[in-house]
């Protein structure tokens, strides 16, 4: 019985993976292309010095960028050195992980368009709120 369950569960997992493989394969290839083609210093050209616009720009670039969160910390640290506001940097590192434009096709195919689009829009908006709240709270310390 246990042996049967074991085999059944294994085959079920293999089947799930087989179905999802073209989506994951496509996303991995797309990300491979993106991180090789887009230079890391491209983003900083788009910041204006206006906190509101920079926060939106930070959140936007974080949404389209992808990769290990450490990369977002390094880029964010560079932004700070160049005088870009902490709200913009916080929005950038938040959307880097919570919003994924490049992963959106995979997320839509797996969870459904409605879920993926709603989740990404809400995460984008709340990243701005979290960024503002973080800096606001920090100002009291």
């Amino acid at each position: 019985m246990v042996k049967m369950d074991f085999k059944k569960s294994f085959l079920k997992t293999v089947n799930s993976f087989k179905q999802i493989l073209p989506i994951l394969g496509g996303v991995v290839m797309l990300i491979g292309l993106f991180i090789s083609v887009v230079p890391k210093n491209l983003y900083q050209k788009f910041f204006t010095g206006n906190t509101v616009i920079d926060s939106l720009a930070g959140a936007f670039f974080g949404s389209i960028a992808t990769g290990n969160p450490i990369t977002s910390y390094i880029i964010g640290g560079e932004f700070l050195k160049q005088g870009i506001s902490l709200v913009a940097v916080a929005a950038f590192i938040l959307t880097w992980v919570t919003v994924g434009i490049i992963q959106l096709p995979a997320e839509s195919l797996i969870f459904g368009k409605k879920f993926a689009i709603t989740r990404n829009i809400i995460c984008f908006l709340t990243a701005l709120v979290v960024a503002v709240l973080t800096v606001f709270t920090l100002s009291f310390l």
């Binding site: 179905q19 991995v28 990300i31 640290g77 995979a106 195919l109 969870f111 809400i122 709340t126």
Partner: protein, 178 residues
């Protein structure tokens, strides 16, 4: 009625896989296009892809093992109890801790979450899991190094809090649209 639902589900599944293959083939074409028209960029992309695969294959294996264990030990009833509509506080805690502890790129975890969703996991818990991937214990020292301890503590606190708020909002909006 039941047969009709079964057929609809099968059709939806087939459509989903059809879309997945179209997506995959279009990316292959993109690479082929680069191979023909910009070999240097193609080479860069292939090296980038190889580096990416080197990092994500171990996570893929981990996710496969998790999915296998879920299929082996968690039936629909158990998933509904821990992560379903009435899971309450327990569900939030499991999703938040799961999101924080999960490693590697987010998309690697999609199959496992989809598997759990099919067994009854709430959408709000999926959102919380995905959001909490932003809180990485192993990366906290790096964040402290770049942004300082107070910033790291405050942003991590807000991220956990907003993972719940986002989960509730997304689920409500999806229900409204439905």
């Amino acid at each position: 009625m039941r047969l009709e639902t079964k057929n609809n589900n099968k059709e939806r599944k087939e459509n989903k896989n059809y879309g997945a293959w179209i997506f995959f083939i279009s990316i292959i074409f993109l690479y082929l296009f680069l191979l023909i028209f910009n070999f240097n960029l193609f080479k860069k992309a292939v090296f980038g892809l190889a580096g990416l695969l080197y990092h994500i294959i171990p996570v893929f294996i981990l996710v496969f093992i998790f999915m296998f264990l879920i299929n082996l030990f968690l039936d629909v009833k158990k998933v509904i109890r821990f992560l379903g509509k009435d899971a309450g506080f327990k569900g939030w805690i499991i999703s938040i801790i799961g999101g924080i502890l999960s490693s590697g790129p987010v998309y690697v975890w999609y199959p496992m979450l989809e598997n759990l969703r099919r067994k009854g996991m709430r959408d709000s818990f999926i959102v919380a899991f995905l959001y909490n991937r932003a809180v990485k214990i192993a990366l906290l020292p790096m964040m402290i190094y770049y942004f300082g301890l107070p910033f790291t503590i405050i942003i991590s606190f807000y991220m956990i809090l907003f993972s719940i708020i986002d989960g509730i909002i997304v689920e409500k909006l999806i229900r409204l649209k439905a």
